[in-house]
C-alpha cells in the first residue's frame, strides 16, 4: 500500500482518505465505499444501491473485503472511514459477486428476446461483465404470476423480479405513499401492492426507470421499441414550471419515451408521470404547412397575406403581439424584438394554473414551462393588465385590430372568441388547435423537442433544450418564422442560427448576462453507450 507522501497538506476536516485496491482516495465524510470506488473508476457491481434512494443492502451484490473485518462487507452500506483498506479484486470478493449473480439467475425466466429491458438490463450487463459462467443448479425454476396489473401505467412480471426493493423505496421516499410491498419468503418472495392500494401515485413510472430488470414495465412504452435502437437527446420537460431535466428517446424522427436525467438542483433522478406523457402531443394535430384562410398554402403566399394585414394595422397603431409562456425563450425574445420594431402593444398568454396538481416535490401549479422566461424577456413590463383578459378588453375597446400570437392556447372567453374572428390574427403555432383554426394566417413552427433553445423554470434557472429530430413538413424554428414575418413587413432581423438569438437575448436580458451557449449536443445512440442499465 502506498502511504500518502508526507508533503501533502493535511486533508480538510470533513473528508476521509482510504485505500481501495492500492490507490488512496479522499472523499467527503459519509460517502460509502461503493461511491468512493466509482470516483476511482472501479465499477463495483450493485443492484439495490441507487444514489437517489436510501440504502437497503439486500441484494448482496456489492460485497468487498475490508481489512480487519472477517466477513465481506456490502460496499454500498459501508461508509468510508479514515485509513480503511478495501480490496475489490481479491479472489474472495470476486467469487462472492460471481456466485451472487449465479444465485440471482437461478429462478430468472429466459425472457431476454421478449423482455423490454433487454439491451439496457443491469442483470445482463453485470452477468456478462463479471460472471460469464454456467449455473450449477438444474432444478426447475419457480413460477410466479407473469402479468400483474399493478396500476394505471405499470405491469409487473414477478418472475423477472430480483427482489432488490428499489421500487418500494421509490414509492416511499420519492412519492411519499407506501404502495408496494414484498410478500412470502425465500425463493417464493414476490412484489405486490400494499393492502387496499394500487400503484397510482403521480411518480409511479419512476419505479420502471430504477427497476434493474424487466419486472416493472410501462404500459405506454411496452413492446413499442427496443432499447438499443433509440437515440437519446437531453432536453427539459415542458409539462410545468419545475423544468425537470429529461432525455428524449427517439427513433425515425419520432419520440417514444421521456426518461429523467440527473440534475441535483432541479429534479434529482426523478420526474412525474404526467410529464412523461407530454411527448404524445408532439405527434397529434401538428401544423405542417402554412394555412391562409383555412387552406394550406406556401410560405411566401402566407407571408405576403400576413404582411398586408399587419402592415395596415401597424400604420394605424392597432397592432398587438401575444407572447406565450408555453414557447421557448428564443421564440419569445424574437417576437418581443419584432414587436419593439413595430412599436406594437405586447401581451402574453399562458395556460390557466392548476393548483390541485401542486405538491411539495416536483409538481408545480403553474403548468407553463416558461412563465419566468416571458417575464424576464419583457423586463417586468407584463402584468395582469396585458395578460389574456387584458388582451380581450383591448380587442373589445377596438385598440387592437391585428394580432400576432405565439403558440395555440389563447384562453379567451366565449365573447373573446367572437371578437377574435373580427380582427386579423396571424398565429405562429406548432399545432392546429384552439384559435389557430380561425386565424387569418397560420405559420407552422417547431415544437419544443425539435429546436435547440432554452426555457426558464420556476426558480429562474435558464436550462438549454436540444433538437431531437427535425420539425415535420415545412415547419421551421419559431424565431426563424419571426425573422421571415419581419422580412414580410419590411423590418430586418439578422439571425441565422439559434446561437445568434441566444447571444442577443443573453445580452439584452439582465439576469442571463453571459450565460454560455454550450456545445451543440448530437443525439447519442444508446447502443454506442453500452447498456444504460
Amino acid at each position: 500500500m502506498s502511504d500518502p507522501a508526507p508533503t501533502t497538506p493535511p486533508p480538510a476536516p470533513d473528508t476521509v482518505t482510504l485505500t481501495i485496491d492500492g490507490t488512496s482516495v479522499t472523499v467527503p465524510k459519509g460517502t460509502n465505499v461503493l461511491e468512493a470506488a466509482r470516483t476511482l473508476g472501479i465499477d463495483i457491481s450493485a443492484f439495490c444501491y441507487h444514489p437517489g434512494l436510501s440504502i437497503a443492502a439486500c441484494c448482496r451484490q456489492c460485497l468487498v473485503s475490508v481489512e480487519k473485518n472477517p466477513k465481506l462487507q456490502p460496499s454500498c452500506q459501508q461508509t468510508a472511514a479514515e485509513g480503511m483498506v478495501v480490496r475489490t479484486t481479491d479472489p474472495q470478493s470476486t467469487l462472492a459477486r460471481k456466485q451472487m449473480l449465479e444465485f440471482t439467475l437461478v429462478n430468472h425466466p429466459i425472457d431476454c428476446p421478449i423482455c423490454d429491458k433487454a439491451g439496457e438490463c443491469t442483470l445482463q450487463k453485470l452477468y456478462f461483465d463479471h460472471d460469464n459462467a454456467n449455473s450449477r443448479v438444474d432444478t426447475p425454476k419457480v413460477h410466479k404470476p407473469k402479468v400483474v396489473d399493478l396500476g394505471p401505467h405499470i405491469v409487473l412480471d414477478a418472475e423477472r423480479c430480483i427482489l432488490c426493493t428499489r421500487c418500494i423505496r421509490v414509492c416511499d421516499e420519492v412519492a411519499g405513499q407506501h404502495q408496494l410491498e414484498m410478500i412470502h419468503r425465500g425463493d417464493h418472495e414476490e412484489l405486490t401492492t400494499a393492502p387496499g392500494e394500487r400503484l397510482d401515485n403521480p411518480y409511479s413510472l419512476n419505479t420502471v426507470d430504477v427497476c434493474p430488470v424487466g419486472a416493472l414495465t410501462s404500459k405506454d412504452f411496452r413492446f413499442t421499441m427496443r432499447a438499443w435502437e433509440l437515440e437519446a437527446t437531453p432536453s427539459v420537460c415542458h409539462g410545468c414550471a419545475t423544468g425537470c431535466n429529461v432525455e428524449i428517446h427517439h427513433k425515425n424522427d419520432r419520440a417514444w419515451r421521456l426518461v429523467p436525467r440527473l440534475n441535483a438542483e432541479v429534479n434529482g433522478h426523478w420526474m412525474c408521470d404526467e410529464g412523461r406523457f407530454t411527448y404524445h402531443e408532439l405527434r397529434e394535430g401538428r401544423l405542417a404547412a402554412p394555412v391562409v384562410d383555412g387552406l394550406p398554402s406556401s410560405w411566401d403566399k402566407a407571408l405576403r397575406v400576413a404582411g398586408e394585414k399587419l402592415g395596415a394595422a401597424q400604420k394605424a397603431g392597432t397592432l398587438a403581439v401575444a407572447l406565450s409562456a408555453q414557447a421557448s425563450n428564443e421564440d419569445n425574445f424574437a417576437l418581443a424584438r419584432l414587436a419593439a420594431a413595430w412599436k406594437a402593444q405586447v401581451f402574453w398568454t399562458a395556460r390557466p394554473h392548476r393548483p390541485e396538481r401542486a405538491d411539495d416535490r416536483l409538481r408545480d401549479a403553474d403548468v407553463n414551462p416558461n412563465t419566468n422566461g416571458v417575464k424576464a424577456i419583457s423586463g417586468g413590463a407584463l402584468s395582469t393588465a396585458n395578460d389574456a383578459a387584458g388582451l380581450e378588453s383591448a380587442i373589445a375597446a377596438g385598440k387592437v385590430k391585428a394580432l400576432v400570437t405565439l403558440g395555440y392556447d389563447l384562453p379567451v372567453s366565449e365573447a373573446g372568441q367572437r371578437q377574435l374572428r373580427e380582427i386579423d390574427v396571424v398565429a405562429l403555432s406548432s399545432h392546429d388547435r384552439g384559435h389557430v383554426k380561425q386565424a387569418a394566417v397560420a405559420l407552422p413552427i417547431a415544437a419544443w423537442a425539435e429546436t435547440a433553445g432554452s426555457v426558464t423554470n420556476r426558480d429562474g434557472k435558464l436550462q438549454r433544450t436540444h433538437a431531437a429530430f427535425p420539425p415535420p413538413g415545412q415547419a421551421v424554428a419559431g424565431w426563424e418564422a419571426v425573422v421571415r414575418l419581419a422580412g414580410a413587413t419590411g423590418t430586418k432581423l439578422t439571425w441565422a442560427h439559434t446561437r445568434d438569438v441566444w447571444k442577443d437575448m443573453t445580452a439584452a436580458v439582465a439576469p442571463w448576462k453571459g450565460a454560455p451557449w454550450g456545445r451543440e449536443v448530437r443525439p447519442l445512440q444508446l447502443r454506442f453507450a453500452g447498456s444504460r442499465g
Binding site: 473508476g41 465499477d43 461483465d129 456545445r519 448530437r522 447519442l524 454506442f528 453507450a529 453500452g530
Partner: protein, 183 residues
C-alpha cells in the same frame, strides 16, 4: 522492432515530434504540421530508415469519440473529444522494404483549418489515397497536383465519412421520371 524508428525520429527532430506511441506492434508518431514535409523526406532518404513504400493515407474524425470501459486493457488513452481539441487526425502509414520496419505519421488538424502538406511528391502511391481522404473527409492536401473527388461524383455536396454526415442521406443524380417521392 520499429522502436528504433521512433527514437531516431525524436533524436533527429526533437520538438517537431509531438508524441510517439507504440500500440499493438504499430509505431505511431504525431508530427507537427509544418515539420511534416522535412520528417517525411528524411524518413525516405535516410539510409537507416529507408521508408520507400507508401502503405495508406486516411483520416480519423474524433467528433463522436466517447471511449467506454471494456474488459481487457485499453491501449488508447485518448480522452473523450471535448470540442476544443483538434478534431481530425490524418495518418500516413509507411513501410521499409529493406529493414522491414513500419511507422505511422499522424498530423492533428482543427475543425476549421483542414489544410495539410501533401506527401504525393515524395511517394506517388499516395496520390489517389490522398484524393480519397479529401473526397471522404474534406482534408485539403496542399501541393497535391490533382486534388479532386475520386469515389463520389462532383455534384456531391459534403464529406460522407465525417461523423456528422448521416449514413442514408442520398443525393440522387438521376431517377426514373415516373417515380414519386425521394429515395
Amino acid at each position: 522492432m520499429s522502436q528504433r524508428v521512433l527514437d531516431a525520429l525524436k533524436a533527429k527532430f526533437g520538438d517537431a515530434i509531438v508524441a510517439t506511441e507504440s500500440q499493438h506492434g504499430d509505431e505511431v508518431a504525431v508530427v507537427k504540421r509544418d515539420k511534416l514535409k522535412d520528417v517525411a523526406t528524411w524518413l525516405r532518404d535516410d539510409k537507416a530508415m529507408a521508408f520507400d513504400t507508401p502503405v495508406f493515407v486516411t483520416c480519423i474524425d474524433l467528433l463522436d469519440w466517447r471511449p467506454v470501459k471494456a474488459p481487457g486493457k485499453p491501449s488508447s488513452t485518448r480522452p473523450e473529444w471535448d470540442g476544443v481539441a483538434p478534431r481530425f487526425e490524418v495518418c500516413w502509414q509507411l513501410r521499409s522494404l529493406a529493414h522491414r520496419h513500419r511507422v505511422r505519421l499522424k498530423v492533428a488538424l482543427a475543425e476549421n483549418d483542414v489544410k495539410v502538406p501533401s506527401l504525393t511528391p515524395l511517394w506517388s502511391g499516395f496520390e489517389w489515397q490522398e484524393r480519397e481522404t479529401f473526397d471522404m473527409y474534406g482534408i485539403e492536401f496542399v501541393g497535391h497536383h490533382d486534388l479532386r473527388r475520386i469515389y463520389l461524383y462532383d455534384e456531391f455536396v459534403g464529406y460522407p465519412l465525417r461523423k456528422d454526415y448521416p449514413k442514408e442521406k442520398r443525393q440522387p443524380l438521376v431517377r426514373r421520371p415516373d417515380l414519386v417521392g425521394d429515395h
